[in-house]
């Protein structure tokens, strides 16, 4: 479903487009809402979070989520591929056990544990987010590659495809929807954990919320919460769209 091909009404009710418009408006327009927050909270000296710009915080937030997710896709996807090859099969059980067990660890606890090991700052947040995002990516890569029907593999082999060609032209395209679902889970969790990462010294959209909670400034809390919620909804809607595209593409 391309934007150009949409009827005007579809365009106006599309969750992704509406969300994007709302997100951009919130990020750019928050400063102009200062009078509104001043009216809502007359007791506050500073009704608008101004220590960092919301544009900066949003970009930093997205960078933290983007880099950690990309690293998790490369590492987790690679590990998932490795254990479904004949030479890596022995490690499959262990990897699956770690992925299942690891996902019972609450992300916030993993984030907190990164600090005693690595200190404060964006680096422990990046490592913790990457480690956590690995788990759903690994799980779904293995499940997706596993779900490729054996007859399909046999006929690909019959066509004379080598292992690498089979992986990239048959297995990965067929597994792509399942892998994408894992990436989506990982990214959505990371958007939320990145917000909490403000407590370990990473400057993200969680910062106004944390500063507001610690200083009893509800206006700060609302400003940060609105933007981070909008960001999560937009990213989720984006994955919805991506899944539809992928389903169409893999049918061809």
């Amino acid at each position: 479903m391309t934007v150009a091909g949409m009827a005007p009404r579809e365009f106006l009710t599309d969750r992704l487009i509406l969300g994007l418009v709302a997100l951009v408006a919130l990020v750019l327009g928050m400063p102009s809402l200062k009078p509104l927050f001043a009216t809502l909270y007359p007791g506050l000296d500073r009704p608008l979070y101004e220590a960092e710009s919301f544009v900066r915080l949003t970009l930093d937030h997205m960078a933290l989520v983007g880099i950690s997710s990309l690293a998790a896709i490369l590492l987790g996807g690679g590990a998932g591929i490795a254990v479904t090859r004949p030479w890596g099969r022995e490690f499959r059980g262990l990897l699956e056990t770690v992925a299942t067990m690891g996902q019972t660890f609450p992300p916030v606890a993993v984030l907190a544990l990164a600090v005693p090991v690595m200190g404060f700052g964006p680096e422990p947040a990046l490592i913790a987010l990457t480690l956590y995002a690995l788990l759903p990516v690994v799980e779904n890569t293995v499940a997706g590659l596993d779900g490729v029907p054996a007859p399909v593999l046999d006929s690909a082999r019959g066509l004379g495809m080598g292992p690498a060609e089979m992986l990239f032209r048959v297995e990965l395209p067929l597994a792509a929807p399942v892998i994408l679902a894992g990436v989506r889970t990982a990214v959505i969790i990371n958007v939320g954990t990145a917000a909490i990462a403000s407590t370990v010294g990473a400057k993200t959209l969680g910062l106004p919320i944390i500063v507001g909670l610690n200083g009893s400034n509800q206006a700060y809390v609302i400003q940060g919460a609105l933007i981070v919620a909008a960001l999560a909804v937009v990213i989720d809607a984006g994955f919805d769209r991506l899944a539809i595209w992928l389903a169409r593409w893999s049918q061809h």
Binding site: G93, L94, P116, G192, G212, N214, Q218
Partner: protein, 394 residues
Amino acid sequence: MTSRLRLYNRVALLMALAALAAAVALPFLGFAPNRLLSGRPVPLWATVQGLGGAAALLPGLVLLATPFLRPTRFGLGLTVAAGGLFTAGLVWLAGAQAAALAQGASAAARTSFASGFWVMAAAGLLAAVDAARRLGLGAVGRMAVGAAIAGLVALQLVSGHLDALSILKEYANRREVFADAVLRHALLVAAALVPTLLIGLPLGVAAHRVQAVGRAVFPILNVVQTVPSIALFGLLMAPLAALGAMLPGSGISGVGPLPAVIALTLYSLLPIVRNTAVGLDGVPAPVREAARGMGLTPRQIFLRVDLPLALPVFLSGLRITVVQAVGLAAVAALIGAGGLGAIMFQGLFANALDLVLLGAVPVILLAVAADALLSIGIAAATHRIGVLPGRSAP
């Protein structure tokens, strides 16, 4: 490769080599004059003193040999035992060394686990877990292995052998606060479960029976699940604070346990509603027809056929809900709901890393314990269906 020494278990080999590398290259413990300073590293070899110390490391040597054992019940059983005992032995060594270091130092001195300990302990546990899986142990058997290893550590904890470690010194300073926090954490999760089940179960049944209900409910619950917890807590604050101001004396407030329980409930609804509906959807139509043919009333069919058959799927929804809620309750400490998260964030804000551990490690243990208990429940419920007559294979 000679015919005498053959590699049978590459996972155990990798774990043994990782443990060996960590033993040589990484600090085992850190020793600091007080809790705010970073410590000087203490390598593993410096902690091995006397016969007891050597005995504690013996399972590590066995672990190095296990990759070359035939994968018989004995070989794999030995790997499980070596991995578990190695981890428990590391904890024992750490406790003994901390006590020795504490003797010549001030009361403020701190001995904490360092990276080498974590890597070696993880390697030992993973070797045990993998060997248990190769042995073909089921969920209950694997949990028994886990419980045995946890028991060995718990024994040292209770006997006071670990008291000189910094995490237990933090605990000693906050004994009552800690007990309160654990209780409060569990209460937050339980308090959210009550409204979740009261709303979620009927909603799940309705979504199973009437498609339109599912179409209306699931998109909303999905969006809620997408919103980051800290944002939902923040967004609930303002309306609740306004409500509290309008109804003075009602006890409603934007901070504290109330917004936490509301947010936890909102997050918990999706797995419960979804799995209730999916579980009921999965009951085979022939089974229902057979029950009807036997003269059961719709009510009896629901209670005696639908519910038991849907129970395993429902329980896995409950497991997702409870494990998720344990983590979310930790975040709720930021809005003053208390619990273990309060200890964790207090440590983060005050740069007291042992305090962070005292909060975060029990959160993980609570989540893992809840997961294990509910897994046993799921296994039991599935087993019961298995022997139910009339269960048609899909």
